[in-house]
Symmetry: C2
C-alpha cells in the first residue's frame, strides 16, 4: 500500500527514531486498518465535502436513537443505575446483569444451551478478536505454530493485523458462482481448505464483511464438522448477523454449540461508540478470554451494557433488529442497486456480490485495466472514499488477480442523495478505467 | 498464590482442555490482577455483607456525579452530540475535539509544550499500559531483549502481567526511611537501579499505587536524566495524580517533556466505567500507540470524552479535582488514620507509608509472624477484602521478607462506618497474628 503509506507518513510527520520491540515494529507501523480508520477520521475532520463510503459506520436510524435516548434519560434519573454507569468497574467478564439477561434471551429465542458462564463482553468486537486469535494461534509451548484458517477470502480487514506473530492467517480461495443480473456468490471451496495440525481456529464472518455473502447452513455445518474433527474452535463473527443487528437478508439459521465461538456486537445496531463486543463460547474459552481481558483492559466499559439492558431482557433487541434495522438497510440496498444499474455503463463487465447481508456492496470489475488500489486513489481525489478490495484477501498466498478487481462500498452511512452522488462518480471513474 | 488459585478454579469449574498458544498460556491463566478483579466482582455480586477495601474503585462523590448528570442531560438533549455519543467511531487516536481541548488545557495551566498530536486516548489506562509496555520492551529485531525498569517496588499490580514475554519487569528495592508517628517513606535507591542496554523504558506511578508514595521532584528529575542519557522513555503513571484527579497531598510539580510519557485517567475522578485512559507523549509515540490501538481496539469509546469535554475545555476539571475530589479523599484519609491509631494495638510494630497521595493506606507489619497472604485469607474469611502486598513487588528478584509484610487498603470506596468496621477487624486479625 505505498500511496496510502506515503500519505500517512507525510500528513503525520512521522519520524521513526524510537527503538521499538518486534511488537512495536508490527503494531506501531502503518497497517491497512489504521489507514482505513485514519481516512475515516480525517474525512470527518476535514473541511472537504467527502462522500464517505469507506468505513463501517452504521446508519443513524432515528427510531433506534429514540429508544436509546429514552433509556439514557431513565439511567440519568435512577440514582443507583446512574452511579453504576459512571462509577463501578465491572468484572473482567463484563457486566453480570447484562450477561445473565443475554444468556436467557439466547436460550429462550434461539434455543442455545448457554448460561452466564458462556458469555463475555469486550471493548468492541475488535478487542475480542485480538484476544481470541492470539489465544488460539501463534507459537505454542512445543515450538509449533498454528494459524487462523479463513474458510474463504475476502474476509474482514480488521483481522489482517491482529496476530502477534507473522503468517498468522491462511485462507482458501473461494469458488465464484455466477448468478443472474450481474450478481455472483462466493462459496467455500472445501477442496482448497486445509484444516490440520497447524490450524488454531477456523474463523468466518456471517454475513461476511466486506462481501455481504452469507455462508449457507450447509457450509456452516461442514465447517463445524471440520473444526470438531480437528479439535479446534469454529469462530463465527456475527457482528452484522444473528440474532442482532440482524443484517441478514436471506434464510440463515443462527448457529452455536460448545465448540463454536459466536462473536456479536452492538455497533451495527447503532452503538459503535459504546465499543461493546459480545463473545458466546464454552466456559473454558470465556474464562481464558476474561482473564486476558483483565490483564489487557482491567475491565470493559459498561455503557453499552446499560444502554441495551432493557432491550436484551425483554427480547426487544431482536424485534427491533428484524422490524426496524433490517428493513432500513434493505431499503438502502434496493436504492443502491437501482442507482448502480442506472449509472454503470452496461458495456462494462461489472458485477456485485449477491447482497445477502451487511451494509456493503462488493463490486467486482472483471479484468479491470487498473488495480482497485488505483481506482481507490482516483475516487479519493474526487472526494469519494471506498475501500480497495485487496485489503481483504489476507491469508491468500498468491497474487490473485481477482483480489485487485474489487471495491467495498458502505451504502448506508450517508443519505441516499449522497450515495447516489458517490455512485455516479464511481461509475464515471470505472468507465474511464475501462474505456479511457 | 495457591489459595487464590484454588478458589478460582473451583468456583469457575475450569477444566483446561483447550490448546492455547504461549500467549494463551500466559494471559488466559490465573494472574494477580484477574484474581483481584474476580474478587471485586464476586464480592459485589455475592449475597454476603462484604467490606470491600481491596479494589481501586473510587468513591462516589455526590457533587461530582451531579456535574456528570447535568452533562448527560445536555448530551441527550442535543441531537448532534447525542448521535455522536452513540453512533460514530472516533479515530484510533481518540476523540479529536477532546484531545484538542486537553492539549490546550495542558499548555495553558501547566505550560506543557503539547498539541493535539501529543495526546492519545485508550479504553482505560490499563489498555494504554499494555500497548506502551509492549511497544518498548520485549524482544527486538536483533534478538536482544529489553525490560520495563521500575525505579522502585512496590508498584501497581496491574503492570505485573502486561508483558507479552517473560521476565518483562525489573525493579529496584526501595530505601525505607523511618519517619515519625509510625510513618515511613520509600525512596528511589539510585545505587540499586540499573538502566542500560536492556532497559526499554522506565515506569513509575506518581502518586504510587499501592503505597501513596509521591516520588519527589528531585527523584523525577534524576529519573528523567537517566532516561534521556539511555535514550529510553520515562513513563509517569498519573492515574491518581496531576493535573487530575489531583490525589497528591504534598508538594509535587507536574512533569512532562518530549522524552516523558505521562498517563492520565478519568477513572479516579469518578468515571471508571467510562474506561478512559489518556497518554501524553511525543508525536512518534502517539502515532505508534494510535496505530496499535487501531489494530487491537479499532477505536476507543467516546463516552468518557463526551462526559468530560466541558470540564476540560473550561479547565474546571482541575478546579474540581483540587476543590472537591482531593479534599474529599483527604478527609477520608484523616478519618482512617484516626481509626487506625485508635484500633491498632500499640505494642505491635505497625507502620503506614506516609500517605502523600492515592486512596490507599499501605500498612507494613514488621516481622509479621504470618505472611501478608495468610493475613489476607483470614480477613477474607471475616468478609473484609484487602490486597496482600506481595502482589506489588514484581521485578524484585529475591524473596524479600518486607514484600510479605504489607497490605493495601482502599480507604475511600466504602462509607466511613464500613471502613471503621473493616479497620477494627484488621486490627484484631493483626493482633492475633502477632500475639496469638
Amino acid at each position: 500500500m505505498p500511496s496510502f503509506g506515503n500519505i500517512l507518513l507525510s500528513h503525520k510527520g512521522f519520524k521513526k527514531v524510537m527503538k521499538l520491540s518486534n511488537f512495536g515494529e508490527k503494531f506501531g507501523s502503518s497497517t491497512g486498518i489504521q489507514i482505513l480508520m485514519d481516512d475515516i477520521g480525517d474525512a470527518l475532520n476535514s473541511g472537504q465535502d467527502i462522500i464517505m463510503m469507506g468505513g463501517g459506520n452504521p446508519a443513524s436510524i432515528a427510531s433506534v436513537e429514540a429508544v436509546f435516548k429514552a433509556r439514557i434519560e431513565r439511567l440519568a434519573s435512577e440514582p443507583k443505575l446512574f452511579s453504576q454507569m459512571l462509577g463501578s468497574y465491572d468484572p473482567p467478564q463484563g457486566n453480570s446483569s447484562f450477561i445473565s439477561d443475554l444468556a436467557s434471551l439466547l436460550r429462550r429465542r434461539l434455543g442455545w444451551q448457554v448460561s452466564a458462564r458462556n458469555i463475555a463482553l469486550t471493548n468492541g468486537s475488535q478487542a475480542g478478536f485480538f484476544m481470541l486469535f492470539n489465544l488460539f494461534a501463534g507459537t505454542f509451548k512445543d515450538g509449533s505454530k498454528r494459524q487462523i484458517q479463513l474458510p474463504l477470502a475476502p474476509e474482514y480487514i480488521g483481522y489482517a493485523d491482529a496476530g502477534l506473530g507473522a503468517d498468522f492467517f491462511t485462507a482458501a480461495h473461494p469458488q465464484i458462482d455466477n448468478l443472474d443480473d450481474r450478481e455472483f456468490k462466493y462459496r467455500v471451496r472445501f477442496d482448497d481448505l486445509k484444516v490440520g495440525a497447524d490450524t488454531g481456529a477456523i474463523c468466518v464472518s456471517r454475513p461476511t464483511n466486506p462481501t455481504g455473502n452469507v455462508i449457507t447452513d450447509e457450509e456452516v455445518e461442514h465447517l463445524d464438522a471440520l473444526a470438531q474433527a480437528n479439535d479446534v474452535p469454529l469462530i463465527i463473527d456475527g457482528a452484522y448477523g444473528l440474532p442482532f443487528p440482524g443484517l441478514i437478508f436471506t434464510q440463515a439459521t443462527p448457529f452455536w454449540n460448545p465448540n463454536t465461538i459466536v462473536c456479536l456486537s452492538l455497533s451495527k445496531l447503532g452503538l459503535p461508540s459504546a465499543r461493546m463486543g459480545i463473545v458466546v463460547a464454552n466456559e473454558e474459552v470465556i474464562q481464558a478470554l476474561s482473564r486476558t481481558n483483565a490483564i489487557i483492559n482491567l475491565a470493559s466499559g459498561n455503557f453499552g451494557a446499560l444502554l441495551a439492558q432493557d432491550l436484551v431482557s425483554t427480547g426487544a433487541i431482536i424485534d427491533l433488529s428484524q422490524q426496524v434495522v433490517k428493513p432500513y438497510y434493505i431499503e438502502r440496498l434496493d436504492f443502491t442497486k437501482r442507482i448502480l444499474n442506472r449509472e454503470m455503463d452496461s458495456q462494462i463487465p461489472w458485477h456485485m456480490h449477491k447482497p445477502e447481508g451487511t451494509m456493503f456492496a462488493w463490486l467486482w470489475f472483471k479484468d479491470l485495466p487498473i488495480s482497485s488500489q488505483t481506482l481507490y486513489e482516483r475516487l479519493k481525489a474526487r472526494n469519494v472514499i471506498v475501500v480497495s478490495g485487496h485489503h481483504f484477501f489476507m491469508g491468500i498466498q498468491d497474487d490473485w488477480r481477482h483480489s485487485h478487481e474489487c471495491i467495498r462500498i458502505n451504502y448506508a452511512a450517508q443519505s441516499p442523495e449522497r450515495i447516489e452522488q458517490g455512485l455516479k462518480i464511481i461509475a464515471e471513474e470505472v468507465r474511464k478505467a475501462y474505456l479511457g
